[in-house]
Amino acid sequence: MVLLTFVALTTPLSAHGAVLWSHPGTILVCNNGQGQDILHGAIKPRDTNSSGTLYFRIRVVPIADTAAKVIKFFEAGFMLVKDGQEHLGIGNARGALAYSALNVPKAPKGFQDLTSSNPDPPYTYEYMRAGIPRYIVFKVEYVPGQDARVTVWLNPDLSTGATEFNEPTNLVVHFEADATFDEFRLIHREYGGGWEFSQMVVGTSFEDMLLRHFWQEWWFFVVCGVALLAAVAGGTQLLERRRARVQIQRLEKERAVATERTRIAQDIHDEVGVSLTKISKLSDLMALDENTSEANAATRRMIVATASETIRAMDEIVWAINPRNDTLKEMADYLVYFAKDFLSSTLITCKLEVPLNLPDLPVATEVRHSIFMVVKEALNNAVKHAASREIRLGLEVTEGCISIVVADDGSGFSLDQAAGVGNGLENMQKRMGAIGGRVEFDTKLGQGTSVKFHVPFGEAKADS
């Protein structure tokens, strides 16, 4: 991704033509006579037989201005020199107040002056002012055997996207001149304290003349790329860390909830259990008081029974919500205890087929609770409707599945009759469905009923 961005950002640069020559520094020349070559043969010389087009850009800053009229004659410019002979120059011709071309003998007088977008009326040109920099771009189209066609723009728009065709026409000057060269020289002669030249470029297209901002430089892209990489890497790490933190927070929260659940369970268990025990016990003890009438006995027994039932019901609830019981072993132990306790007040015997050494599997609270509820329902049905003498509670763990069976030897029922027991059966199916399990009824009139529950434990299997 980073690489793609990098390529996408660098692509506009490749639209440029070729920069043939450039001079990075700033050169101040003052009264330097013939000047010195700065090209050093970097570009193939152009002579009268040359063809093709070259673009030049220079940035100039006059040290003094011409508007004050204190300056006497001077000339300055970027000179094309061939065989020691000065040809076309761009700068200020001797005697001119404005930027102009030099050595353009064929142009009528004044026509070599460069027009400006900030003219000093009534003229179309502006005076040169001290310290005010100007960019000058000129195009030279070489025509073999003739003078070259020259186009000059004074201070054109050099921002990204500018072309030679969308520059304002009022700052364009055309003329023809001898533009052959084998040297570039910067000159300033006589008055005015000198000229400063900088940002000189020669290229093959106008685009090469455009000013490249720092964000268009290659190193900027490298920095961007590195920064982007760092940002992505940092961001990923930060994200990862945050994810880990969120995960930890979630686990801590879960543990806190579990702890709180246990505490509440324990509190209810202890507090209410003791109170109900007290109610039950005190009601029972009323029998010891001589002045308790027989008439009160029935009420007293009801209080005892109700308190006992409430204690049992609360024990179930507390068992259901205590996360300590979230294992297959605890669940099996409780089912055994419950079945025995539930049937202890009846004449029905209870046979257990529950393995003693159960695998150490986690069973989620809701699964455990649902299993408990359906077993309770099945036991209840067997006691209430079936007139059984013996009830069998079986539990077995097979590949990925817990199977529990509650079977009685009672009257049984045909499945069309099932509507009578309907709600209970439907409830069991609903509860099993909710935890991804299923119920199997096996019954015939007079041959007892067997209810089987199958609950898959995908997660637990992965752990074992």
Partner: protein, 229 residues
């Protein structure tokens, strides 16, 4: 040794009971209920395990009713320590719920059984008498735990605490939900024999866990040099 046959119907109290229970209303009522029976008498009642450890050795009691949850030292630990000094003492745990883990731990500590606090007077008196006659009932939930315990211990067998094949058989039948009567019928034995078997199972459970507990207890520096403080 108490008679294991018919209970004697003498009018003088023959069974001395001690109660350890922190809740005053229950403690007082238990005293009342025990003393209401002609054969039983409550010789002392304590509020904490610590007080009981001090007093019970001098009470010459036959049975102690011990609350399983006590402030400070709990009932299970108190039973463990009392049984070390008085192996003949019968301990019945008092509990609000049938919490099989706690009850099983009490049995390992040497308790003979447990009693729900909400039990009626009749059930209470019956349980005390049974305990005195060395008849500890064993529910199937508890039997399951006992089987699991012996299976676990089987790997580091010690001869004194190993179950006989008969005892193993009785225990496994108890764990599948059979009653004493059903087991007796199935194995063609008398009910009395089954009771004896269960008694021996309990005894071996005690012996085993006591061996462990004693070893653990002896390692504590405070015990190694008693009275050095």
């Amino acid at each position: 040794m108490k008679n294991t046959g018919d209970k004697s119907r003498s009018s003088t109290p023959s069974i001395k009971v001690v109660i350890v229970e922190d809740q005053t209303w229950l403690r007082e009522n238990l005293v009342r209920e025990i003393n209401g029976d002609s054969q039983l008498s409550c010789v002392n009642a304590y509020r904490t395990a610590e007080a009981a450890l001090q007093g019970v050795p001098n009470d010459q009691a036959d049975v102690v009713l011990m609350d399983i949850n006590l402030p400070g030292m709990d009932g299970v630990e108190c039973v463990r320590r009392l049984k070390l000094i008085m192996p003949e003492l019968h301990c019945l745990m008092l509990t609000v719920y049938e919490e099989s883990d706690k009850i099983f731990n009490s049995l390992l500590a040497g308790a003979s059984g447990y009693l729900l606090k909400r039990s009626s007077t009749q059930e209470l008196l019956e349980a005390v008498r049974l305990a005195c006659n060395n008849c500890s009932p064993m529910s199937s939930s508890i039997a399951r735990k006992v089987v699991a315990y012996f299976n676990e211990m089987g790997r580091k067998k010690s001869e004194t605490s190993e179950l006989s094949p008969r005892e193993q058989q009785v225990l496994e039948l108890l764990a599948t939900g059979s009653s004493y009567k059903e087991i007796a019928d199935q194995l063609s034995l008398s009910l009395e024999t089954i009771r004896m078997n269960v008694k021996h199972i309990y005894a071996k459970l005690h012996v085993h866990s006591r061996g462990e507990a004693t070893a653990k207890f002896m390692r504590q520096p405070a015990f190694r040099r008693p009275g050095s403080n």
